[in-house]
Symmetry: C2
Subunit: 340 residues, 2 copies
DNA sequence: ATGAAAGCGCTAACAC
DNA sequence: GTGTTAGCGCTTTCAT
């Protein structure tokens, strides 16, 4: 690698390195002719300023560190995309790391990013994450950090999350409002937060409308396609079918689609299906999934916005909790019984 | 932001900063007891080494700069994911930039990454990119660079690409081998490289098997869903339907799906559809698309592997051209007429 | 208007 | 074993 330095330009022009530095930063000290000369030499010699050196003595890197659990999950790739978009607009760079849902990797990534002296961190925890020591250290070091989607509670950092319980309730309200009362739920595992809140919302809405909550219609499984399939099979085996199924996420919904079709049931004529997800993916479903849409771009944007504000001290650090509104998109996979 | 430096530890322990530096790097000079003392202080005081300073005098950053045109395109997010995977494994970091298919942004991103003194670059050009000046400069600076997917030819860099023409031919061969002769093609625009090669492959295979190429069965459109729909409508309007449609990519295929279903045609019973794409997405199609699979992870992995080898001088720079094999996945959207 | 000196946090080379 | 000196490429005083 060949690198031209300011001092090379200085030598070439027989001036001091400081003059070059000032000229490059358009310092009023320097005469216009000199600036012209310098800029010319810069082009001619192919000088590219060394940001590392600049960062070292400014103690500001214009770099944001991102930690996501997994990029294979398209949700996160959209989140990251929107973050980079905004960062670029504001002249920040992004170092992207992936934890593969491993607590140890998450920790290593964060240490690495701190070592790089990023100006701030955007973190979505891995599913494993229990040990919050590193976060209290970040707090002590006063490094701005914003959690998104998954949060270490009580660590004293700002966060951007969805309000799952509220989203579930308002969606169920709509489905019930459209004339349905027989609604099953393919839940995740009640252990994990995400599944719990959605399930609670489901129960709350039914109760609100005086619809009895049937235990045999809440089927706990996992969060993957196969879980949707097996839950559907289980439901079918029980014999007593609901009109609509509310699924904990889009992969489970797709599993339900497959199982339903294999059982010769049409969607939405024979069985309606809706659930959590995000529109970019569920667009592909046939029929398009009626979805409680969690917009990854909104989340990414709010998170990095908040972080940059905290970095630039426009907002108090660690005090903000933003809820991203979920949007209910009524599409093809559920058919209204009652007109709006 | 609060940062502890080696000198702070030195002061605390009443020793020289150099001793700290050496102890931290486990230098044989230093006694075991001293190392213990230092490491203890490190923990206690929350010292995190400043990589910026380290990079400045080692002139090595262990950082790779990536430029992709667009992360919304899931293909690229998988590519990036696999790159980060491998980079992390080899203790490299990744700065990720997105050009949004803009030449100007691509250029700015690259300059930025060079300024950060990344050890190497992984670049997929924007669709606009014409001006190759920056690439000749990179060549002059001897910065290792590997192009992937889209390449600036003759810039003297290594590259990793798919061999579209070959992939199309071998796939068409298989479809023809399964008993089909009436095969239409929804092409992109012949102006763009990607569409051209695929179309050439289509023609070449038909000709090889003595099947006349019908001009009215090569329908040029764009690369988006709506283009697949309109191409299908056009085909339908012509009245003379093929048995199978070969589409230039998966979005066009999905458009064809939609239009076919609306026209009351069943896939694959009434019409078969297959095309370029990648399996992660086309899995969602109903029925699953028979696809010429371009594996993004393979591409990402080969690209960063090659780059790291060039960085570490295990391979000559700029001399390698790797073709990623495309894999034909025979799935549900085309039904064999003849047994294998 | 131009330049000399000092320092950002770290490491390599060379004393003691 | 431990410490001193110098330098990575840049910027920020402060002289001239």
């Amino acid at each position: 690698m060949i690198n031209i330095r300011q001092s090379d330009i200085a030598k070439e022009l027989n001036i001091s390195r400081v003059t070059v530095s000032k000229a490059l930063r358009n310092h009023p000290d320097i005469s216009i002719e000199m600036k012209k000369k310098v800029n010319e030499a810069v082009k001619r010699m192919g000088y590219v300023p060394n940001l590392i050196a600049k960062q070292l003595n400014s103690r500001k890197t214009f770099t944001i560190g991102i930690v996501v659990p997994d990029l294979e999950n398209n949700f996160f790739s959209y989140v990251v995309d929107s973050m980079i978009d905004y960062a670029t607009e504001k002249d920040y760079r992004v170092i992207l790391t992936v934890s593969r849902e491993k607590e140890s990797v998450e920790k290593r990534n964060i240490e690495n990013l701190i070592g790089m002296r990023v100006d701030g961190l955007l973190v979505c925890n891995s599913q494993e994450t229990k040990d919050t020591l590193i976060y209290s250290q970040i707090k002590r070091m006063k490094i701005p950090l914003v959690f998104f989607d998954r949060v270490v509670a009580d660590a004293g950092f700002s966060s951007v999350v969805f309000d799952d319980r509220a989203g579930a309730i308002s969606s169920l309200d709509k489905v019930i409002g459209a004339g349905f009362t027989m609604i099953a739920h393919f839940a995740g595992f009640s252990g994990i937060n995400i599944g719990k809140e959605r399930c609670e919302g489901y129960r709350a809405s039914l109760e609100k409308h005086g619809i009895p909550v049937r235990k045999d219609w809440i089927i706990e499984g996992g969060y993957e396609l196969k879980d949707g399939q097996s839950s559907f099979m289980k439901l079918l085996a029980q014999g007593d079918m609901p009109e609509v199924i509310f699924t904990v996420n889009d992969r489970v919904a797709l599993g339900a689609y497959k199982a339903a079709k294999e059982a010769g049931l049409r969607i939405p004529e024979d069985i309606g299906i809706f659930g959590y997800g995000f529109s970019e993916i569920t667009d592909f479903f046939d029929p398009q999934l009626t979805v409680i849409n969690q917009d990854p771009r909104k989340m990414g944007l709010e998170a990095i916005r908040l972080l940059l504000n905290e970095i630039e001290k426009k907002t108090k650090t660690g005090q903000n909790k933003i809820y991203i509104e979920e949007e209910f998109l009524w599409r093809k996979s559920v058919k209204r019984k009652v007109k709006k």
